[in-house]
């Protein structure tokens, strides 16, 4: 085990990937708690598809992926939030429209320029080799902002997530917090997308809160457990993928699935056990 860790830390790109990945996993799980509880989790999915389109565009333009993806995905986040706030049912369909459109544009751009190559597979399923210094810095800044938000606005976030109407009546502005969460989610997705893969990144947002909710019964414990689960699953996933030479993104997702099953079983056992 120790040898494996030394092995990982001897590769600069792996250390970078680990830092960015852990920070992204942390942010995704915290933001995910709020998104999942508000039934907004499909926003994460929609954004990751838009992210794929922007990566394809960036390659076609020979531009830095971050510079192209970030503004477009943030814009898409505002749009998706608007749609899902206005009417639930239609919002669902509208998000599917936007995400398939983005996917189609991405595929077209790719086939008209580079054609299907390893770059494209990397976009879809992730590659651990793609993290550079600017990704590390951006992820540190993002994590600091998300942590500050969750520590200092924790009670407001609770109120906004639990009961928007009541929150509004007590003078909290739900619109502002919804925007902030959507915006931070967009940045998280753009950062994590190239490592985890555009098709897999939304799992980091959805799995940890759902796993935590199997066993935890208060908002505080769900939030904390979800962050810890996400960090643990990501770390284990990277180690396993290093040892078994499997794709990192997919491995992390599978570890998250296993954690979910484990928690689900524990919850089942607990409900059966006489208390």
């Amino acid at each position: 085990m120790f040898d494996v860790l030394v092995g990982i830390f001897s590769y600069g790109f792996l250390v970078r990937a680990l830092i960015v990945g852990l920070l992204v996993a942390l942010c995704a799980s915290l933001l995910g708690t709020s998104l999942v509880l508000k039934r907004y989790s499909m926003i994460g999915d929609g954004l990751s598809h838009v992210g794929f389109g922007t990566l394809a565009l960036a390659t076609a333009l020979h531009a830095a992926p971050l510079a192209v993806s970030l503004p477009i995905v943030v814009l898409a986040a505002f749009l998706l939030l608007r749609i899902s706030e206005n009417s639930r049912i239609k919002g669902d369909a509208a998000i599917a429209l936007i995400s398939t459109t983005a996917l189609a544009v991405g595929v077209l751009v790719i086939s008209l320029t580079t054609g299907m190559n390893t770059d494209v597979t990397n976009y879809l399923f992730g590659s651990i080799l793609t993290m550079n210094a600017s990704d590390v810095w951006l992820s540190v800044v993002l994590a600091v902002i998300v942590l500050v938000l969750f520590v200092f606005c924790y009670h407001k976030l609770f109120a906004v997530t639990f009961d928007e109407t009541f929150a509004r009546a007590t003078g909290v502005r739900p619109g502002f917090y919804n925007m902030l969460i959507a915006l931070l989610t967009a940045v998280t997705i753009v950062l994590g997308m190239r490592m985890m893969g555009a098709l897999l990144i939304s799992s980091l947002i959805i799995f940890p809160p759902l796993t935590a909710m199997r066993l935890c019964k208060t908002f505080r414990s769900v939030t904390i457990a979800s962050a810890l689960i996400s960090l643990a699953c990501f770390f284990i996933g990277v180690v396993v993928s290093f040892v078994c030479s499997t794709p990192t993104g997919a491995t992390v997702v599978i570890i998250n699935v296993l954690a979910f099953c484990l928690f689900w079983l524990l919850a089942l056992l607990r409900s059966r056990a006489p208390s």
Binding site: L37, C153, Y154, K156, F162, D163, A169, T170, K217
Partner: protein, 233 residues
């Protein structure tokens, strides 16, 4: 002192007027019951009183020193909350949020106040319980405790007894009426339970997308609208 004044107010969603001709006042210590059929604009009016919705015409004024953030409010239940992982205490103490301003954390006084309200409703044993594992009636009581934690002067309750069994319903009416009498808290309640409404409330406001009656409960019982709505009682 007058707490709420509606002057010929109307409310609209996207330009479409849903309730109009609102002309009434609520004095301190009043117990007003808003009645009317589904979709007659009751919840809309409550939102208007809380300043969550601006009137399209006319005006809604709050009494001097009454801030919307300090009105206890019990919204109609939404499906999201039914399986929300939160402890009872987390929900109740969130009522203090309006008085917190920019302070990020609750003080001991906030927490003590929340515990007091739980005790008042006989829920102190459930403090650590998970909200989603409570029965509908218990959930409703938790939300009432939250409203009590938030309020200073007035309590706005939107269908607080929907889905409760008759016994718990009577209990809740008794608690609300006690708060009204003993602490002088002004109550505005939406209810479909017209019989209890006229029994407990001092005033009745009957809506039918416009105001069809406003006055004391005793007058309501004599009025044509009241006799009609109570239908062969």
């Amino acid at each position: 002192m007058t707490l709420f004044t509606c002057k010929n107010a109307s409310f609209a969603y996207e330009g479409h007027v849903v309730v109009s001709g609102l002309d009434f006042t609520v004095e301190r210590g009043d117990y007003l019951c808003i009645v009317g059929e589904n979709g007659s604009g009751k919840s809309t009016l409550i939102k208007g009183l809380l300043k969550l919705l601006a009137p399209k015409e006319g005006s809604v004024e709050l009494g001097e020193g009454l801030k919307p953030a300090e009105i206890g409010y019990l919204p109609q239940l939404t499906p999201v909350q039914k399986d929300f992982p939160a402890s009872v205490f987390e929900v109740v103490v969130s009522g203090r949020l309006g008085s917190r301003g920019l302070l990020p954390f609750y003080t001991q006084a906030d927490k003590a106040l929340a515990e007091q309200q739980l005790a008042l409703l006989g829920m102190e044993k459930l403090k650590r319980c998970c909200y989603r594992e409570l029965s509908g009636g218990q959930q409703q009581r938790v939300l009432l405790a939250r409203a009590l934690t938030a309020m200073s002067e007035a309590l706005l309750l939107d269908e607080p007894v929907s889905g409760l069994d008759p016994l718990v319903t009577q209990e809740l009416y008794r608690v609300v009426s006690e708060i009204n009498r003993e602490r002088g808290v002004t109550i505005v309640m939406v209810s479909h339970d017209i019989r209890s409404a006229v029994h407990y409330a001092s005033h009745i406001l009957h809506l039918q997308n416009t105001q069809v009656f406003f006055g004391t409960s005793a007058d309501y019982l004599q009025s044509p609208v009241g006799i009609d709505f109570l239908g062969g009682a």
